[in-house]
């Protein structure tokens, strides 16, 4: 988009130029190319036969097929929710493909060497090398990073199937299971049976129930007691086929005293028609275990006219099931035409902790309704929410959240801060928090301040000889770091590049 083509948006004084340009440049989506590859599809639409077909393609046992069918039957009795501040044309669920895989994947390659080079090249082009080498993966500019670095194991999901998972052997030595969920269902049925649907039940909500019926692949992680996962785990989701929905399911189990950091990235080609993505992520965290879950969501957001883009309906939930369990959600949401996503924490175990850090950027005609739920059930539980929303063009950005302190969750704490920034006078920024406190020893604080740069900080900087602009830049940098710092280094770099953004003069 050239400057001449740019729609006339009046930006008021005080909004940083860099912010505006960064957001504008997001209009030029870099991952919009597609891979020409021979695919095989399940017939269009959804019915019990399709559900059975997906189960059969994954060579699933009978119990899994029945589980899916139960979900499908339930889904048929449900209605699509309409409470979010989102406007989109009605989705025709029969006008989608629910299963698409590259023909070359039919033979289930035993190692990455057997994978179709075209697929490997796709990930190479995306910056996700599927080779086991000690470089940072998934990050632009990573080559520039110091080379003494951590390894990242990658599970690459292409449309409906996982094309390969790296470092599986090395992880196995530590006892960590990291594999496609389709493989886990076959090889670790006892774990899958025990935990699948235990955090997000089949009947949880419309989109989660649909996912339960038709999920085709996704990642499975099990970290055994006392193990600190020796490397970061990541899954990269790529939607390639047209008119195809992606329904992935991720299940992470952190056993007692374990630790794992998990990264998730996603992109899709530019298409004129919208595509559906309905994922479910379940995380089970046992005593003293900790999980960090980071997402850079960069699905195709639709073009400048609002054509195409991914409709992203995601249910993510972590269950801190035992004492001192800890979860941290960090998300940088820049893609998707429609985002409907509320990564949540159930703080069941005493002294368990949940954190949610989010940056959501919407431009052109994007709409995001996103936030979190912190359900405090156990004593002395802690949660923290930091959310930054930025709207530009004609986009709408809504923070929606729930903080609930149950009567038994005594001496618990929550701190919430949501800030938003509007760039231009045709977009919207909204905040819809629900606060439910049912005991008095807990403390809940919700703040959505006008984030005009803090005057005191500004004054401090200026008193030390900085000019106004430098001072603002410094303060804003510090302001954004709340969220950016919560990201693992790999993602922080990507996110920083994506969000070289100031939040001055914003509204909450």
């Amino acid at each position: 988009m050239t400057v001449q083509d740019a729609p006339e948006i009046e930006v008021r004084e005080g909004v940083d130029r860099e912010t505006v340009e960064t957001v504008a440049s997001m209009g030029s989506y870099k991952y919009g190319w597609d891979t020409e590859i021979e695919m095989e599809y399940a017939p269009k639409g959804i019915n019990e036969d399709i559900v059975r077909l997906i189960s059969q393609k994954n060579e699933e046992p009978e119990w899994m097929t029945e589980w899916r069918l139960a979900a499908f039957r339930r889904w048929q009795t449900m209605t699509e929710p309409s409470w979010a501040m989102l406007n989109y044309p009605e989705i025709d669920f029969q006008d989608q493909y629910y299963y698409a895989r590259p023909k070359s994947m039919a033979g289930r390659p035993k190692s990455l060497d057997e994978v179709d080079p075209k697929l490997l090249a796709t990930y190479e082009k995306l910056g996700i090398p599927l080779r086991e080498q000690e470089i940072l993966a998934g990050v632009e500019g990573a080559e520039a990073a110091p080379a003494d670095v951590r390894k990242v194991a990658v599970d690459a999901v292409f449309d409906s199937v996982s094309v390969g998972t790296t470092f599986q052997d090395e992880l196995a030595k530590a006892g960590v299971i990291f594999c496609p969920i389709s493989e886990a269902i076959r090889k670790h049925p006892e774990l899958v049976k025990k935990y699948l649907g235990s955090v997000v039940p089949q009947s949880d909500n419309y989109f989660a129930t649909l996912n339960s019926a038709v999920f085709s692949d996704g990642s499975f992680v099990y970290v055994p007691p006392g193990v600190r996962c020796p490397m970061e785990l990541s899954t990269y989701f790529r939607i390639n086929a047209e008119n195809t929905g992606q329904f992935e399911r991720t299940l992470i189990i952190a056993d007692k005293g374990s630790y794992v950091s998990y990264l998730e990235g996603c992109t899709a080609p530019k298409r004129d028609t919208a595509q559906l993505h309905a994922a479910v992520v379940e995380i089970v965290i046992l005593e003293d275990a900790e999980v960090k879950y980071s997402t850079v969501q960069n699905w195709f957001p639709g073009d400048e006219e609002g054509r195409g883009g991914i409709y992203n309906f995601v249910t993510k939930r972590a269950d801190c099931r035992e004492p001192r369990a800890k979860v941290m959600w960090t998300q940088v949401e820049t893609g998707s035409a429609i985002t409907w996503k509320y990564p949540s924490c159930i703080l069941r175990g005493e002294e368990s902790q949940g954190e949610f850090y989010s940056i959501a950027i919407t431009n052109n005609f994007q709409q995001a309704d996103t936030g979190t739920k912190m359900i405090h059930l156990g004593k002395n539980t802690r949660s923290r929410i930091v959310s930054k929303g930025i709207s530009a063009g004609q986009a709408q950005n809504t923070y929606r959240g729930l903080v609930s302190m149950h009567p038994r969750a005594t001496d618990s704490r929550n701190y919430t801060q949501c800030d938003s920034l509007l760039i231009g006078d045709r977009c919207g920024a909204h905040t819809v928090p629900y606060i439910e406190v049912k005991n008095s020893s807990s403390r809940v604080e919700h703040e959505a301040t006008t984030s005009k740069v803090d005057e005191d900080q500004l004054f401090y900087c200026r008193a030390r000889g900085m000019d106004e602009e430098e001072a603002v830049a410094l303060v804003v940098n510090g302001f954004c770091r709340d969220v950016l710092q919560a990201l693992p280094m790999e993602f922080a770099m990507e996110a920083q590049a994506l969000v070289a953004i100031s939040l001055e003069g914003s509204v909450g």
Binding site: V11, R12, T77, M78, T79, P81, W83, M85, P201, S203, D204, N205, Y206, Y342, K373, R400, G401, L402, M405, P407, T410, S420, L422, I423, G424, D425, R426, C427, G428, A429, H430, T431, V432, P433, Y434, I435, E436, V437, K438, N439, S440, S441, S442, R443, V444, E445, H446, E447, A448, T449, T450, K452, G505, V507, G508
Partner: protein, 444 residues
């Protein structure tokens, strides 16, 4: 949040039959006949159509998430013995004012003052309504109707349709003294529906006081239309008392440079829901809504719902809601600031805070912002917690007895809300009342 509702089993649609909601509405309307009216007749018919289209709210209604509408939906209220609560008839006793008394929802001329007052025209609605060409015919229900979007408020529409009486006040200049609306009750079962209409002409200035006990069930609507530069200062005291239920709506429209400030003191509101719906239509308009609430006992449930719309430039709005809850009381706050496209330089502020004095009380809040203009300053804050032990310790270490220290800390917690009462004498009186109440309760 609504997603939680999805966990519940969705109702399967059955064969078409008269819905319980429709039956309930019929029963509700049958119990309270529509009075004969001339000036407002068309407005009442219109309101009835609105209500029929909306229906009464059910328990799953998102806007009634934290308050059960059933007591408002019921055909008749449970009677409340007259000696159950004495109310606070002495409040504002020291203020020189023009007093209008409503007994069981009807104007009582004998108990009221002479209605002539410089700068103000006052009449009871029941009298104004008898004149077909009275100006109230155009004003009655107009702001209520506008306030039905984007959220429906069926009990306000019901009020417009069936209100028996109210005050009709037109202010043309500086009112010589405050006007007081005092509610009294003589019938234990009185189901009261009162509708006040206020019109403030350009530059007019009025202080409106409102207190007393409405009935076993009260439904009050105030419509306040402020022309350019007008000022309305509204100070209300609600003592809802034992099993009484009340639903109060304030609809305000604020023109250029005008200012509407409303403060409510509320003690032990039993199933009390207030809705303030105010639009800052003109440029440089001001609207403040504040409440200091004390609630003691599991039967106490007070819901303050506010919807402020900024349409004009440079509007200023403030919402200050403070709730002190003990012995199982429930406090609810649903506040919203909507900034329309083009309402630049808006300054919107909202604070809702609860002090929970024991483990049984609860606070439920939904402070919302919906903003479509980029050069605005809007913020909201909401906190919930117990008394600050450090401050308590400090006071006690200075020799202040614990009971007294708690009273002082509660008063200081409520101070921000009380600041919204501009008149110092009124503020002092309310503050004294609060202190008396707190001291008595601390001992009890």
């Amino acid at each position: 949040m609504p997603e939680a509702a999805l966990i519940q089993t969705p109702a399967v649609e059955g064969a078409p039959r008269p819905s319980p909601a429709a039956q309930q509405l019929q029963a509700r309307l049958a119990a309270t006949p529509r009075p004969r009216a001339r000036a407002t007749d068309a407005a009442r018919t219109d309101a009835l159509d609105r209500l029929s289209a909306q229906g009464l709210p059910g328990p799953r209604h998102e806007y009634w998430r934290y308050t059960d509408p059933a007591p408002f939906n019921a055909a008749a209220p449970d009677p409340v013995p007259l000696d159950a609560v004495t109310g606070d008839p002495t409040l504002f006793a020291g203020v020189d004012k023009l007093r209008l008394v409503f007994v069981d929802g009807r104007f009582d001329a004998a108990a009221s003052d002479d209605l002539s007052l410089a700068g103000v025209e006052v009449a009871p609605l029941s009298q104004a309504d008898a004149q077909a060409d009275h100006w109230v015919g155009d004003a009655y229900g107009a702001l209520e109707k506008q306030g039905q979007s984007p959220v429906s408020r069926p009990f306000a529409a019901l009020n417009t349709a069936i209100a028996t009486d109210g005050a009709v006040i037109r202010v043309t200049g500086q009112a010589a003294k405050p006007v007081q609306i005092l509610y009294r009750r003589s019938d234990p079962a009185a189901d009261v529906t009162i509708h006040h209409v206020l019109r403030l002409e350009p530059g007019a200035d009025l202080t409106l006081l409102e207190n007393g006990l409405v009935g076993a069930r009260g439904n009050i609507v105030i419509e306040a239309d402020l022309a350019a530069g007008a000022k309305l200062h509204h100070v209300a005291a609600h003592r809802a008392g034992v099993p009484r239920v009340s639903n109060i709506h304030l609809f305000g429209r604020v023109a250029e440079g005008a200012s509407l400030k409303s403060f409510a003191l509320s003690v032990d509101g039993r199933h009390l829901r207030t809705e303030s719906v105010i639009e800052l239509l003109g440029d440089d308009a001001v609207a403040h809504v504040a409440c200091a609430m004390l609630g003691d006992g599991a039967a106490v449930h007070q819901d303050d719902t506010v919807f402020i719309t900024h349409t004009g430039l440079r509007g200023e709005s403030r919402q200050v809601f403070k709730k002190v809850l003990k012995n199982g009381a429930t406090g609810v706050f649903q506040g919203k600031i909507l900034v329309r496209p083009g309402a630049q330089k808006t300054d919107g502020y909202q604070i809702s805070q609860a002090l929970l004095l024991d483990e049984n009380s609860q606070y439920l809040a939904k402070p919302e912002l919906e903003i479509y203009a980029d050069d605005v300053k809007c913020s909201h804050g909401s906190t919930t917690g117990a008394l600050d032990e450090t401050a308590l310790f400090y006071l006690r270490s200075r020799g202040v007895p614990r009971e007294r220290a708690v009273v002082l800390l509660v008063l200081s917690f409520l101070a921000d809300a009380l600041e919204e009462v501009e008149d110092e004498a009124l503020r002092a009186e309310i503050s004294d009342r609060l202190e008396e109440w707190l001291t008595a309760r601390a001992k009890g």
